[in-house]
Symmetry: C2
Subunit: 319 residues, 2 copies
DNA sequence: CTGAAAGCGCTAACAG
DNA sequence: CTGTTAGCGCTTTCAG
């Protein structure tokens, strides 16, 4: 009826009626039922955002980017967490799709067959984010982690380091860390350098793990001259360990992390890292969905590869 | 029809039919439409979670707690971000309520009149979290920030510090930081100590801001012997500043933060802080909603006040 | 155990 | 400009 029209600012309604309706709806504390609305109109202003985790600093920033652009549109993000587990991704995706969202933003290019099938058949724009090394269902925005690993390796080799260790997460399910590792070792090999040591962890406080792993590696392989970490948080832990134990940085060992988290800005010396463009990725992904929704398109087929900036900081240069 | 019954495991269906339906639904990649389902059944397995921010380490952990318990139930969290702005809270709440969720978990006790009215009339369980200093709409789970400030002040005074400064966020909209500040100054006053200096910031990298504010305060009031920060991140920045500048901690100045973030575990010396029970708050809040939903109740009227634990660390004791 | 029928609260299209 | 009508795709109830 008319009420619906005024509440949605659609169609022609006289000023008088509009005011009467608005007043009544306010007085009664009326909140429209979007469920019914969505069912009738076949339109839902929700964007499904599916990410592995919320607790490691990287995805909250992606979310910030997404929110920033969606706030300018009628769309709303709804997030689901997979804990890096494909079976959870499948379930979360299924749940989300059953609400018929306007689009999906999902981390990574690796999905189970069932997930992939759902994405392909959803009939809405899909943006896979973070990673560009692979084949997307529809659109993709991210960086090449293989290239990121490679470039870091080249920078380290160019600085003259020779005895290099890798410290990171156990990677069976973190494909992006794995790709960085692969790119890294590959480039080192090309430079004629073999990795001198490596250490992996899972779970626990990253800062603390960084300390522990660093200690382990430096005790096991004392002639190490560079430590490359799979993320900034463990790198920061490693840096603190070195400082506490009188290990000269970067004189005796150099360090580098990955992500470019804000946390590092306040540290001294400043850690070398590579910016993962997290917020920008979120923004671009949201923009694709917003554009499709506005235009009524069910896919965009865009491919945006961002370039991570290497930040030398104070820890990637011979003292 | 029958299909609906098997997909929901309800009612009696013969094994044969069940299998036939399951096979067909899988083959066709059928994803049920929850919108229609929700409209028909008047039941929605969504829990609205409304928080101010996702980027400061505290709310992600609350979310972790919420997710942990909701994962064991049919309920799903849907989060909305307010950026500490009441008008955004209002809008987000309105949007969320229009999806008729099974419950609301919302940060803080301070809401606009309109928001409060919506919460009161929603007819679903509401849990206000983080803070217990005030009057909840329905249930509340959190800590008393006023008391947290007070207890920290007492611990500092008991340790013999006399020239105390407060460093924190600008607080017009962060009611919890404000309450801690009030409790803190109140208790100091009772101990006959007047605050020696204070400094506020807004925005930017917390770690970096912590450094800057610490420098400002120590230069302006050189005889300061204790720095109390409104959160751990700026406290960590302050600690790093002291270490870099040869200021003995806790010999020359003591430091304390607030939140008990995991980040501190890896630092050395270990910062004094007070655990805000973030994950536990999330868990308890989710449990209340889950319980109500299961029992079909539309409110719980529970009040859970957690006790923050003071962690002395290495920075709250005369050297 | 299975089918048929009546809505859920809205939107969209059409008449007045 | 405003009222009426027919669904949206399910769940629920009631008969077979």
């Amino acid at each position: 009826m008319t009420v619906s029209r005024v509440l949605r600012n659609r169609g022609d309604v006289s000023q008088a009626t509009r005011e009467r309706v608005l007043a009544a709806s306010k007085r009664l504390g009326y909140v429209p039922n979007k469920i019914a609305g969505a069912l009738a109109s076949q339109r839902v202003n929700l964007v499904a955002v599916i990410i592995p985790s919320m607790s490691n600093m990287v995805f909250p920033e992606v979310m910030t980017g997404i929110s920033e652009v969606l706030e300018e549109s009628p769309l709303q993000p709804v997030v689901g967490i997979t804990h890096y587990r494909p079976e959870r991704e499948e379930r979360v995706l299924y749940e989300m799709l059953s609400w018929r969202p306007s689009g999906v933003i999902i981390a990574g290019l690796e999905h189970s067959d069932a997930s992939r099938a759902m994405l392909e058949n959803a009939g809405i724009p899909i943006v896979e984010i973070m990673d560009t090394d692979g084949t997307p269902v529809d659109s993709v925005v991210g960086i090449s982690h293989r290239r990121a690993g490679k470039e870091m390796a080249n920078a380290i080799a160019a600085a003259g380091y020779k005895r290099i260790a890798f410290l990171g997460t156990k990677m069976p399910l973190d494909h992006r860390a794995r790709k960085r590792f692969e790119g890294f070792t590959g480039a080192l090999a090309k430079a004629g350098i073999e990795m001198a040591d490596h250490e992996f962890y899972s779970g626990g406080s990253a800062l603390l793990k960084g300390r522990e792993m660093t200690e382990t590696v430096l005790k096991r392989t004392p002639d190490i001259d560079f430590l490359y970490y799979s993320n900034d948080m463990i790198a920061a832990g490693g840096l603190l360990y070195c400082l506490d134990n009188g290990i000269a940085v970067p004189g005796q060992v150099g360090l580098a992390g990955f992500n470019g988290i804000e946390l590092l800005d306040g540290m001294n010396p400043k850690l070398a890292t590579m910016d993962a463009c997290r917020r920008e990725i979120g923004r671009k992904a949201a923009e694709i969905i917003a554009r499709c929704t506005e235009a009524g398109l069910d896919h965009a087929d865009e491919r945006i590869e961002l370039t991570p900036r290497l930040s030398i900081g104070d820890t990637l240069q011979r003292g």
